[in-house]
C-alpha cells in the first residue's frame, strides 16, 4: 500500500530525487541549537491552542451585564470579549488549560526567540552567508512581540486595557502622523469601539500568517545555507558534521516538540497566569496597582518610567515624551540589530563566508559588546518594576527611579570590561568549559599563577570518532544489525551475512521494506 502510494507520487513529483537529499541532511549536535527549536515548537503550540480559543472567544467590545457562572462579577458591566474569556476559562472543558497554555506558550516563544538570538549573536552565527536569516529572525522577534501584546490585550481586562490606553498614547506621540495613525487604528479617539475586533483579526490571522511565512523562509535558508557548527569532531568550513534528518534527528526533534508541549502543559496546569477575573473588566477611569505588562514588553515599560520628563516644543508642534522611550528606542534597537552583521563587516573587514561558530571567549570585544548591550535592556526590564521594588524593599520610589536612571548608564559600562576580562582569562585557561577534567592552578616561585589540565583518567574522554560520509544502505544495514541483536529480518540477515549493507538494501523487495526490529 505504502509502496503503491509512494510510487504514484514519485512518478509525478520525483520524491526520490529531492527526498534523498532531505533525509540525509545533517544536523549538527549541540544543546544550544535547540533554542530555536523551542521557539518553533512554541509557535506550533500557540497555533494549536489558539485555534481552540478562537472557537469560544467573542471579539467584541460591546458592553453587557455579566450573568455568567463567576459569582463575584455578576451584575457588572463588562465587554463581550471579557465575558467570553471568563466563560471559556470556567465553562468550557479544558478551556482554562488551553488559555493558560496559550499564554505560557507565548511567553516561552518570546523567551526562546531572545535566547536563540543571543546564541546566534555570541557565537557569531550571523556572519556571511547568514546575514539575511539574521534579519528575518529580528523581524520574527518584532512580530512576535507585537502579536504577544495584541493577544494579551484581547480579554479586555483592567490591566490589558490600561496597556491599550498606553499604546494609543504611544501611537499618538509619533511626529507628523501619530494622531492620524491612532484614530485610524482605533476608529476614533480612545477608546473607540473597533479596537477589540481589529486586534483580534490582526492577532489570529494577519500576524500569524506573516510569522508563518517568515518562519518558513527562516527554515528554508537553514536548508539552503546548511547549518553552522562548532569546531571539533572533524568539523570544518567545508562539511557539516552531525546526525542525519532521518531517522535520528527526526526522532530527537519530534521528541523535543513533545517535551516543549509537556512543559507548557504542566505550567498551564499548575502555574496560574493572567487571572483576568481577579483583575476585573476594563473601565477607562479605573486603574490597578502593579500594572506590569508581559515580560517581553518590560523593557519598553521600564524605558517609559525612567525617561526624564522632557518634550520638544516647536512652533505649533511638539514631540511628546512617550516618543523617545516607546518609538525611538525600539526603532533604534531593531535597526541596529538588523544592521549589525553589516556594521561588523565594516569594523572587522571580514567579508568571508563562515560556517564554523566561534566560542564567545574567542571574540572578546564582540562578546563584551553583546553583554553590555544586553545588560542595558536588563536594566530597563528591572525599571519596569519600580513601584513593586519600592514597595517590596521599603525604599522610596524616588530612590528606585534614580537608581535605574543612573544604572542604565553605569551597568553597561561595568559589564563591558568585566566580560572582556572574563573572555581573556578563559582564553588562557586550557580546555576551560570544554572537558570535564579539572584545571589545576599552579603558583610559580616568582609568585605568578598558571593553569594546567589534570591528567586524564580512564573513561575521562570517550574516543573521538571521525565523521563518516553518510551512505544510506550502510546505515540501514548497521541499524538492522548493530542496533539490535535480535534482528533477523531480511535486511539484517543480508547485512550480517555479507558484511555490508549495500547488498542487503538492494535485496529488499519494496523500497519501504522495513527491518523487523523497526516495525
Amino acid at each position: 500500500m505504502i509502496d503503491a502510494v509512494y510510487g504514484w507520487l514519485d512518478d509525478r513529483l520525483n520524491i526520490s530525487g529531492s527526498g534523498r537529499k532531505l533525509v540525509n541532511k545533517i544536523f549538527p549536535d549541540h544543546w544550544s541549537f535547540m533554542l530555536g527549536e523551542i521557539a518553533l515548537y512554541s509557535f506550533v503550540i500557540l497555533l494549536a491552542t489558539g485555534v481552540f480559543l478562537s472557537l469560544y472567544f467573542i471579539p467584541s467590545s460591546k458592553q453587557i451585564v455579566y450573568t455568567g457562572s463567576y459569582v463575584p462579577l455578576r451584575g457588572l458591566h463588562v465587554s463581550e470579549a471579557y465575558a467570553s474569556t471568563i466563560a471559556l476559562s470556567f465553562n468550557v472543558r479544558a478551556g482554562l488549560l488551553m488559555r493558560q497554555m496559550h499564554h505560557w506558550s507565548a511567553n516561552i516563544f518570546l523567551g526562546a526567540i531572545v535566547v536563540h538570538m543571543c546564541r546566534v549573536f555570541f557565537t557569531s552565527g550571523f556572519r556571511r552567508p547568514r546575514e539575511l536569516n539574521w534579519i528575518i529572525g529580528v523581524n520574527l522577534l518584532i512580530l512576535a512581540i507585537f502579536n504577544g501584546f495584541l493577544g494579551y490585550s484581547l480579554p479586555d481586562d483592567l490591566i490589558s486595557g490600561t496597556g491599550i490606553r498606553i499604546s494609543f498614547s504611544i501611537l499618538e506621540s509619533i511626529p507628523f502622523v501619530g494622531s492620524y495613525l491612532a484614530t485610524f487604528l482605533f476608529g476614533g479617539q480612545f477608546p473607540g469601539s473597533a479596537i477589540i475586533p481589529r486586534f483580534f483579526i490582526i492577532h489570529v490571522l494577519i500576524l500569524p500568517a506573516i510569522i508563518a511565512g517568515l518562519l518558513g523562509a527562516h527554515l528554508a535558508l537553514i536548508v539552503r545555507n546548511k547549518h553552522t557548527q562548532f569546531r571539533g569532531r572533524g568539523a570544518t568550513e567545508k562539511n557539516v558534521v552531525g546526525a542525519p534528518l532521518w531517522p535520528t534527528f527526526f526522532a530527537k526533534t519530534n521528541g523535543f516538540l513533545f517535551l516543549v508541549a509537556a512543559v507548557t502543559a504542566i505550567l498551564g496546569a499548575a502555574v496560574q497566569i493572567n487571572p483576568i477575573w481577579l483583575y476585573g473588566p476594563y473601565v477607562p477611569y479605573h486603574v490597578s496597582y502593579a500594572v506590569q505588562p508581559d515580560w517581553y514588553m518590560g523593557w519598553l515599560d521600564g524605558a517609559l518610567r525612567i525617561m526624564p520628563s522632557w518634550e520638544i516644543h516647536l512652533p505649533g508642534h511638539m514631540v511628546p515624551n512617550a516618543f523617545f522611550p516607546a518609538i525611538l528606542l525600539p526603532g533604534v534597537t531593531f535597526t541596529l540589530l538588523m544592521a549589525w552583521p553589516f556594521v561588523e563587516q565594516r569594523i572587522t573587514g571580514d567579508r568571508l563566508e563562515h560556517h564554523l561558530l566561534e566560542r564567545p571567549r574567542d571574540r572578546p570585544h564582540h562578546t563584551a559588546l553583546g553583554a553590555a548591550t544586553l545588560s542595558f535592556y536588563f536594566v530597563l526590564f528591572g525599571a519596569s518594576a519600580t513601584d513593586v521594588l519600592a514597595n517590596y524593599l521599603s525604599v522610596s520610589l524616588n530612590f528606585v527611579l534614580w537608581f535605574f536612571r543612573i544604572a542604565i548608564f553605569v551597568v553597561p559600562l561595568v559589564i563591558y570590561p568585566m566580560t572582556l576580562k572574563i573572555c581573556r582569562e578563559l582564553q588562557h585557561t586550557p580546555g576551560g568549559g570544554k572537558t570535564k577534567r579539572h584545571n589545576i592552578v599552579l603558583r610559580s616561585p616568582e609568585g605568578g599563577y598558571s593553569t594546567v589540565v589534570s591528567q586524564a583518567r580512564p573513561g575521562d574522554e570517550p574516543p573521538v570518532l571521525e565523521p563518516v560520509p553518510l551512505d544510506g544502505p550502510e546505515l540501514v544495514g548497521a541499524m538492522a544489525t548493530g542496533a539490535d541483536r535480535r534482528s533477523s529480518g531480511p535486511l539484517g540477515a543480508a547485512a550480517t551475512g555479507q558484511g555490508g549493507g549495500v547488498a542487503g538494501a538492494s535485496r529488499a523487495r519494496g523500497v519501504f521494506r522495513i527491518p523487523r526490529s523497526y516495525r
Partner: protein
C-alpha cells in the same frame, strides 16, 4: 563481525581517517550509542507507557470534567513520556555518528551567472526599450492604482483626528456627575476626599474623566495659580484624570502630601493652593489640565467652562508650551 553483536562494536575502534571509503556497517559510527541497547529499549518502552497512561489520564480527566490541575498534569505527563522516549530512542538507539556531508559553494558559477544575465537582462532590454511609451503608461497607471488603493485601505478605518484631540464633553455649565449618574453636591465630599466625575452626557467617558478633590473647607476659595482665581470654590479642585504622560488614569491621591500619583509610570503631581498639578517626579512632562468649577444656587458643582487645553498625552499638532 562478532563485536557487532557485542557492546555496540565500541571496543577497539580506532578513529578512521576522514574520506576513507572503507567504512562499513561495522564501523563504530554506525553503532548505537547505548552500551546496552536492550536495557535502553526497555527504558524507552517504559517512557512510552508512561506517556500512554498520561494521555489516557487526560481522557479520563476530560470525561470526568476534572479540574484544570489534573487535566494539565495528565496531558503534561503524556507529552513528557512520549517526548522523552522519542529523544532517548534517537539519542541512544540510533547510529551515533558522527556523519558528515560536504558543503557546496553557495554562489553561482561564472558561467551560470553570465547565462542568467544574458537571458534576463538582454531579453528584457529588448522587450522594454522598444516599447518605452507603454512602460511609462503602465508605471503611471500602477502609481495611480497605488494611491487610490491607499484611500479605502487607510482612510475608511477611522475619522481624521481634527478636533477629537482638543475637546472633551465638558462645557460651560456641565454638572459634575458620578460614574453612577448622581450629580455632585457641595456637601458630598469631606476635606481630603476624592471622586471621579464626568459631565452628565458622557458618564464613564475615557477622555472626560476628571478627578474632583476637596482640599479646603467650605467657603475657602482655592487658587492654584493667579490666572485661575475663581476655579476652586468651597475647597474643591478638579483636574483631568488622564495622565499627560501616557494617558493612564491618575488614580492615587495621597492626602497627607496632597499629591496625585499615576500608578502606571509613577508620575507625581502637586495639588492644592498654589499647586496646579505640576509634575514633580517621574516622566510626566506637563501639569494635568484643571477644570474651572463653580457652585450653583442649589449647591451643585458645575463646570465654569470646558478644559482650556487638550487633555492627556501630547501629540504632534498640539504645539504650545502649556
Amino acid at each position: 563481525m562478532s563485536d557487532l553483536h557485542g557492546q555496540g562494536g565500541r571496543a577497539g575502534a580506532a578513529p578512521l581517517a576522514p574520506g576513507i571509503e572503507t567504512v562499513g556497517p561495522d564501523a563504530p559510527q554506525f553503532q548505537v550509542a547505548a552500551a546496552h541497547p536492550r536495557g535502553m529499549e526497555r527504558r524507552v518502552a517504559l517512557l512510552f507507557i508512561v506517556g500512554l497512561l498520561g494521555f489516557a489520564g487526560f481522557g479520563a480527566a476530560y470525561w470526568q470534567n476534572s479540574t484544570n490541575y489534573f487535566l494539565g498534569l495528565s496531558l503534561g505527563v503524556g507529552f513528557l513520556g512520549l517526548g522523552a522516549g522519542m529523544v532517548a530512542w534517537g539519542k541512544y538507539l540510533m547510529p551515533r555518528g558522527p556523519f558528515s556531508e560536504s558543503r557546496h559553494p553557495l554562489g553561482p558559477s561564472v558561467e551560470e551567472k553570465e547565462k542568467f544575465v544574458e537571458d534576463f537582462a538582454s531579453r528584457g532590454k529588448v522587450a522594454l526599450q522598444r516599447r518605452g511609451f507603454l512602460v511609462k503608461l503602465l508605471s503611471l497607471a500602477s502609481a495611480v492604482f497605488g494611491i487610490v488603493a491607499a484611500f479605502p485601505l487607510l482612510r475608511s478605518l477611522g475619522p481624521l483626528p481634527k478636533k477629537l484631540f482638543y475637546t472633551t464633553a465638558w462645557r460651560r455649565g456641565s454638572y459634575l456627575t458620578t460614574a453612577y449618574g448622581r450629580r455632585v453636591h457641595v456637601d458630598d465630599i469631606d476635606v481630603g476626599g476624592v471622586l471621579t466625575v464626568f459631565p452628565g452626557d458622557d458618564i464613564g467617558g475615557a477622555l472626560s474623566q476628571t478627578l474632583l478633590i476637596r482640599v479646603g473647607q467650605p467657603g475657602e476659595n482655592v487658587v492654584t495659580e493667579p490666572s485661575r482665581a475663581n476655579w476652586g470654590p468651597d475647597g474643591y479642585l478638579a483636574f483631568s484624570k488622564v495622565c499627560t504622560h501616557a494617558g493612564c488614569p491618575v488614580g492615587l491621591y495621597q492626602r497627607l502630601t496632597q499629591q496625585l500619583l499615576c500608578p502606571c509610570h509613577q508620575s507625581l503631581f502637586d495639588i492644592g493652593p498654589g499647586r496646579p498639578a505640576v509634575p514633580v517626579f517621574g516622566p510626566a512632562p506637563r501639569p494635568l489640565p484643571q477644570l474651572p468649577l463653580r457652585v450653583d444656587s442649589r449647591g451643585y458643582l458645575r463646570a465654569r467652562a470646558g478644559y482650556d487645553e487638550p487633555v492627556g498625552p501630547g501629540f504632534w499638532e498640539r504645539g504650545g508650551t502649556t
